[in-house]
């Protein structure tokens, strides 16, 4: 599903050139749950952003679902991303001015679905995330765990093939963190590919495979469990 070849990303400011990713070859199969680990500034988030079609690489190739997407214009990246990729962030990134329902509905609006369809899908996912009773609330009125459940609901509401999670438990206590990890695992079991950036060894235990990144390069990969085991 995801195949990068010698993927490189260079950030330029006026004075310095920083290489965030240096010839990264990464292959992720459909249905896999991959954790990316590494110290701060090793390029984890940059890799995630490129995988999530938020950013273009500076060099190398990136095949998404068999299609070369490394050089796509922003417009086309957006088109491809819509409905295919869902994001979960450490800081939840909910829109303060919108309530729970509206936040979750957002991707469906940009997919130009009809109101009735949207309602059905949002209700279903809120139910599933056990947050339906809070749908009229605004983000500030929710706890961190609840906010992250809303964010996950938003990430999955359009049934994307791929969910990208950037330290999804970073701002949560262990109880809420566990709940989030269980949700992600459940989604993965149902067939969604998940790529997660994390600092937490505990969280990485939930993945099939852990990729260790250091200074923009993959230094080790360890397989935690076979996909089949999970899929059963």
């Amino acid at each position: 599903m995801i195949k990068t070849t010698e993927l490189t990303k260079v950030f330029r400011t006026e004075e310095i050139e920083t290489s965030a990713l240096n010839k990264v070859d990464l292959h992720i199969q459909k249905g896999e749950f991959v954790a990316i680990m590494g110290p701060s500034g090793c390029g984890k988030s940059t890799l995630l952003n490129i995988i999530g079609l938020l950013d273009n690489p500076s060099g190398g190739q990136y095949h998404f679902d068999g299609e070369e997407v490394g050089n796509l214009k922003e417009r086309n990246r957006t088109l491809l991303r819509k409905g295919n990729v869902g994001f979960v962030f450490q800081s939840f990134n909910l829109i303060d001015e919108l309530n729970v329902y509206e936040n979750v509905e957002l991707p469906l609006i940009y997919l130009k679905l009809k109101a009735r369809e949207r309602k059905e899908m949002v209700e279903k996912v809120l139910e599933r995330m056990k947050i339906a009773h809070r749908k009229k609330h605004f983000p500030q009125q929710l706890s961190g765990g609840q906010q992250q459940r809303v964010a996950i609901a938003r990430a999955v509401v359009a049934n994307p093939k791929l969910i990208l999670a950037d330290e999804p438990t970073g701002n949560l206590d262990s109880k809420n963190g566990l709940e989030v990890m269980n949700l992600l695992t459940e989604l993965n079991r149902e067939g969604t590919t998940i790529v997660m950036v994390t600092h937490s060894l505990h969280d990485s235990e939930f993945a099939h495979r852990v990729v260790n990144l250091f200074d923009g390069q993959i230094i080790t990969e360890e397989v935690k469990k076979q996909m089949g085991e999970v899929l059963l």
Binding site: L54, D55, L79, S91, N93, E97, P107, Y110, R154
Partner: protein, 798 residues
Amino acid sequence: MFRSYLKTTFRNLMRNKFYSAINVVGLAIGIMACVLILLYVLSELSYDKFHEREDRIYRVNLFAVLSDDNINQPVTNPPLAAAMQGEIPEVEEAVRISNFEQPVIRHNNDVFNETKWFFADPGFFKVFSASFIYGSPENALTQPNTVVLTETTANRYFGNINPVGKYLTWENDRDFLVTGVIEDYPENSHIKPDFLASFKGSALDKNMEWINNMVYTYFLLEDGYTKDDVDAKLEGLVTKYVGPAVKQAMGVSFEEMLAQGLKYRWYAQPLSEIHFDREVSSGPEPLGNRNYMFIFSIIAVFILLIACINYMNMSTARSSNRAKEVGIKKSLGSNRNSLIAQFLSESIIITFIALILALVFVKLFLPVFNNLIEKQLLLHYFDNFKTIPLLVAFGIAIGIIAGSYPAFFLASFNPVKVMKGVHKSEGSHGKLRSALVIFQLIVSIGLFSGTFVISKQLNFIQNKELGFNKENLVVINKADYLGNRISSFKNELLAQSGIVQITNTSSIPGRILTSSTFYHQTANDSRGMNYLYTDDDFLKTYQVELKEGRFFEEGNQSNVRSVVLNESAIKRLNIEDPIGKKVYEGKKTDETAFTIIGVVKDFHCESLHQEMSALVLFNGRGQNLTVRISGDIQQNMKTIENTWDKFANGQKLDYVFFDEDFGRLYKAEVQTRKIVSIFSALAILIACLGLLALAAFVAEQRTKEIGIRKVNGATISEVLYSLNKDFIKWVAIAFVIAVPGAWYLMNNWLENFAYKTTLSWWIFALAGVLALGIALLTVSWQSWRAATRNPVEALRYE
């Protein structure tokens, strides 16, 4: 304390250069507009106030109803002043002034066409003030053929020397002895002579015609009396002098005429009312217009308000940047009042920076503005002790207006919430901000509509079919100087190439026409109508169409007793089958009977403010020659000048192009269009600066939201739309509010014209679309930057 305020203010200004520049420049432009308009308004309001005896000076006006014509004019007859002085004890001094001559004046080799030559009785300086540089007011005008010059005029002829005792030559005819030099009359004087010559010895001095109105009469009221005392006695003078004169001229007794509805009354008008009283036709200088003054003042205030709103919006919008400072100060023991004082001082300091910049702008822009309004306004910083305190007070007032809301708003922050970072600047303040922006847009759309309507109307009147061809006409003034040589001049000029037609008339369309009363042969009541003397070539030269009958023909003896009327005159006199019918001028006697030989189609002799005027054409001569030319203008002017010089014995050719002369009828409107469009542009510029800053602020504030939306699949255009949506909504609301007001006001303005353009819907639509376009363009610059930003950057450092 103030030092600390000053310091924080400057640091804040420097830290946010973009917003500071917008605030300061916007306020400076607003203040400049206000100062310019204020100068204009003050000048208008202070008209004639500089005369020492200003409160005792009056002019005698004539109010009369003759047949169905109303007359309210400042011109009276020559013997009135002496009679007032002799017979009305309340009159301390009465003087005549006339400026109806436009002589050519020579001194050595200098020759000038003068337009501001005034004759005045010796008592002039007892009534009006003047500062003498040379000579003395007591005896300056006592002798015939003496003249007092203004400083500028004296310099023009004599340079920097004392010219008293020197001579100026008047129309190659007689010499005037210079007896004094006075300082120039200021801009705000309704009498602005370059020359004041002694009335003694002038053609009108000994004129005793009581029904021939051709001079201005002013008088100085004795202390302790009112104008009513004089008005009552003026009534006596009418009966005593005008009555017999009317009887002699018309053959009907004055009493009989009064019984028929004639009214004839002299009344005193205070000097202070002269400049603005539009009921009375204008005197030596154009009248002021209170309406326009009011409109310009409103526009200036609006511009300043728009700038103040920018300041308010920017301060409250960016309040979160200051919230921490407020929180810390409060927690350190500062109370609300001292914080309000701080923020108010801050806005006053900023206003003063803007004020200084504004004065620089005024300095740069005042000459342009003077040019626009054709005045010579000056900003005296030191001559008038009030100027600087006024400017300071103005600065403080604007600082308080612009700063008080932000000050109260900022000072009200709860320190605990602010320092926890829960502070939010939106909510009701966001609503107020929208309302303020909507107000700015209303003003902009209103001004756009106004500018368009004025332009459309001007276009309409300038392009309206006048009934004659105003292009390619050159008008020679004072052609009566040629006397009997006029026909040979005409013939010789006509023989040259490029000269198509020439006609000799007593006046030309667009200038003041003389009027008289006319009777139709079967009617006993008269009608007041304009008349014009023309030679045989008038129709051909002006290209006026003949409707029926014939025009005057060369050498036809009957011409003298014939008239040609226009269609409106036929209608006004109610004549059927007019050719061959008789009309009478003034009174119904054989000597005053004329036969109608032709009818011409209506053509506009007056501005389109007025209805088509009824016009009677007599065969005769006058002071104007109108030449129709074709081809190269310069070449033709050379031809005319050369030919003129051959016939004119050294008299200078005095000419104008007809279309320019005629265009002066709409001078006020042309000026208004310029002023309104320039000030509209300024208003919109400042409003745009505000929108720009607001858009930048909104984009900044919504960075995170935009990032999230983009991550969730929003395209650039969707983000642009969501950013611009509010602005579009605001323009729409402003449009709905602005249009009825603008429609109403412009409809009223159009009432000034007898011939008016339609208030088409598209004018307002255009104003709305333009406002929308400008607003969107301004806003989109910021929105585009926000929408195309990589969402990763927006979310990275959360």
